[in-house]
């Protein structure tokens, strides 16, 4: 059986049934592997990108494994600062995982380790079973600081990745223009980064990373600087892309609301030293519509529960 469905018609289907491709993955999580993978072949919508069916190696296989990772920084005061302590986390292929935690708890650092930009002091991170030793186009970062190329226009920035990957100029340009339009920057193609607002830069950074089709998106508070309206729109766009391409997303955010809305899994971290406190599975039907979710008691319960957990943590020992 080939399950392939992007339809938006099954909004109100009972959880875990209606949406073929998604429920396939959810089932795989809930049911023993043999049953879930029974004849189930998940084919991504854009098969030229991602030809291999998920089941060809393992059903709901782990794409990223973080294995007892610690990160110690030598601070200027010559004191060791433990940014991450003994983090273990497995992220399944195609999952949308959010990392939630107070400022300075090591969310960015964890993302850098998965990106291969920082090598952990202890432990290993693996991508598809291979130890991560450096950056690669299979993992696309969207940095908190945007890090756009200031000497390139918006179009030049977005085209940079595809061009580097050997896509022909005309094709890369056409794709990039589509992406720029998607992030709502049509008409700004020839602007330089210094001529953009913070929120616009953030959207260019998102488009630039999406442009080279990384399998895993590593997003560090990508919607932090956006107004509520644009934020909602981009959240929806991101979910659409995710549902279409089945990318794995590791998403850092401060917003509980955003984490619950977008994710399959929310990883809650605590500070000093950065640890994983709790991993919460978000069992809400997809595709998700913000307006519907806001009224959904299950959604509300997730948000309230997570916020409570943070409050408890603060009372238990804020300056641990």
């Amino acid at each position: 059986m080939k399950v392939r469905q992007n339809g938006r018609g099954s909004n109100d289907a009972p959880h875990g049934c209606g949406n073929g491709r998604l429920s396939g993955r959810f089932l795989a999580k809930l049911v023993p592997y043999g049953e879930a993978s029974d004849g189930m072949t998940v084919v991504p919508a854009r098969s030229n990108e991602w030809v291999r069916p998920v089941t060809s190696h393992e059903p709901a296989s782990a794409i990223i494994e973080i294995d007892r990772v610690s990160q110690v920084f030598q601070t200027s005061a010559r004191r060791d600062h433990v940014a991450l302590s003994d983090i273990s986390l497995t992220i399944e292929e195609g999952a949308f995982v959010s990392i939630l935690g107070p400022s300075g708890c090591g969310k960015s650092t964890l993302l850098y380790i998965v990106g291969g930009f920082v090598s952990p002091t202890n432990g290993t991170a693996r991508m598809k079973g291979q130890a991560i030793t450096g950056p690669g186009p299979d993992r696309g970062p969207v940095f908190q600081e945007f890090a756009l190329f200031p000497w390139k226009t918006v179009l030049g920035n977005v085209m940079y990745g595809p061009r580097q990957q050997g896509v022909r100029a005309a094709e890369a340009e056409a794709q990039s223009r589509t992406l720029i339009e998607m992030v709502g920057l049509k008409g700004f193609e020839n602007f330089y980064p210094k001529e953009l607002s913070g929120g616009m830069k953030q959207r260019v950074a998102l488009a630039r990373t999406l442009a080279y089709h990384p399998e895993v998106l590593l997003m560090d508070e990508p919607f932090g600087a956006l107004d509520a309206h644009t934020r909602t729109r981009l959240q929806n766009d991101l979910l659409n892309i995710w549902e279409r391409d089945r990318k794995t997303v590791l998403f850092v955010t401060h917003s509980v609301d955003e984490a619950v809305f977008l994710s399959d899994k929310v990883v809650m971290m605590s500070k000093s030293p950065g640890r994983i406190r709790e991993v919460i599975d978000i069992d809400l039907p997809r595709p998700r519509r913000r307006t519907e979710l806001l009224l959904d008691p299950r959604y509300q319960k997730y948000v309230v529960d997570i916020e409570r957990m943070f409050d408890d943590g603060d009372e238990a020992g804020p300056a641990l």
């Binding site: 950056p135 186009p137 890090a147 190329f149 580097q164 210094k194």
Partner: protein, 261 residues
């Protein structure tokens, strides 16, 4: 019709020159000193110099040495500075060396270089090269060091190799700073050019100047000063045009010496 503001801005350098010449004229008339000709006398001597084939050859020889010295210095210094900025090992090796060379007036090295290489073109070009190199290395180094890490990470994630990152990210990102160094280098090239010709007199614009001084032809001396000064101003203005065009994308910078545009 240009708006008044633009007109004022364009006219300002011209007005400044006229003002300077006027002050000169008045001062020299007041002092009535033999060795201080009036501005008009000096300007009158200019066509004589520029009309003289011998002088012209001398000036062109100076410019050629300056162009070669400057060009080679830039071609060597930019890669070296960028490498130093991005590699601790390279920086650790070259930094002490440059720290020693930096404060030494390059012209002070000339006697030794003359001893080894003679008084010809090579010596003078080498001195110009040394004079230009240091500011260009320094600014390239600082520019490369300041390149935002996340920008390099973005490049690495797109699959750029270290060499490609140096060429396609560090170089453009550091370009405003590099060009600041080059602009300083250009002025220094002119200075070292004249200085070298003053020490190893044989040909060149400096040679004309100091020969005239020896022979008491003060109007020629001052005319040469005007010519050399005008050369510097023109070169700097042209360079500034090119620079502004190359780094239009960057924030405006205000740390330029001898801003003249």
């Amino acid at each position: 019709m240009m708006p008044p503001a633009t007109l004022t801005r364009r006219a300002a350098p011209v007005l400044a020159c006229i003002g300077l010449l006027a002050v000169w004229q008045v001062a020299s008339l007041a002092l009535k000193n033999d060795s201080f000709p009036t501005a008009i006398e000096a300007i009158r001597a200019i066509p004589d110099i520029l009309g003289d084939k011998e002088s012209l050859i001398n000036i062109l020889a100076s410019l050629r040495r300056m162009a070669i010295g400057f060009g080679v210095a830039v071609l060597v210094s930019i890669p070296l500075g960028l490498l130093m900025g991005r590699s601790r090992g390279v920086a650790a090796f070259f930094n002490p060396l440059l720290m020693v060379i930096y404060p030494v007036p390059k012209a002070a090295l000339m006697p030794i270089i003359m001893l080894w290489l003679g008084v010809g073109d090579i010596t003078k070009t080498l001195v110009i090269f040394l004079g230009v190199s240091l500011p260009v290395i320094y600014h390239s180094f600082e520019g490369a060091k300041a390149v935002e890490e996340k920008m390099l990470w973005s490049g690495a994630a797109m699959g750029l190799s270290p060499a490609q990152r140096l060429l396609r990210i560090v170089l453009p990102a550091a370009l405003p700073e590099i060009l600041t160094g080059c602009r300083t280098g250009l002025v220094l090239a002119l200075i070292t050019m004249i200085t070298s010709e003053m020490i190893a007199r044989q040909s060149g614009a400096g040679n004309i100047l100091f020969n005239a001084l020896d022979m008491g032809q003060y109007d020629t001396v001052f005319a040469m000063i005007i010519i050399v000064g005008a050369m510097g101003i023109c070169l700097d203005a042209i360079f500034e045009r090119v620079r502004a065009r190359l780094v239009r994308w960057s924030e405006p910078q205000f740390d330029m010496p001898l801003s003249f545009s």
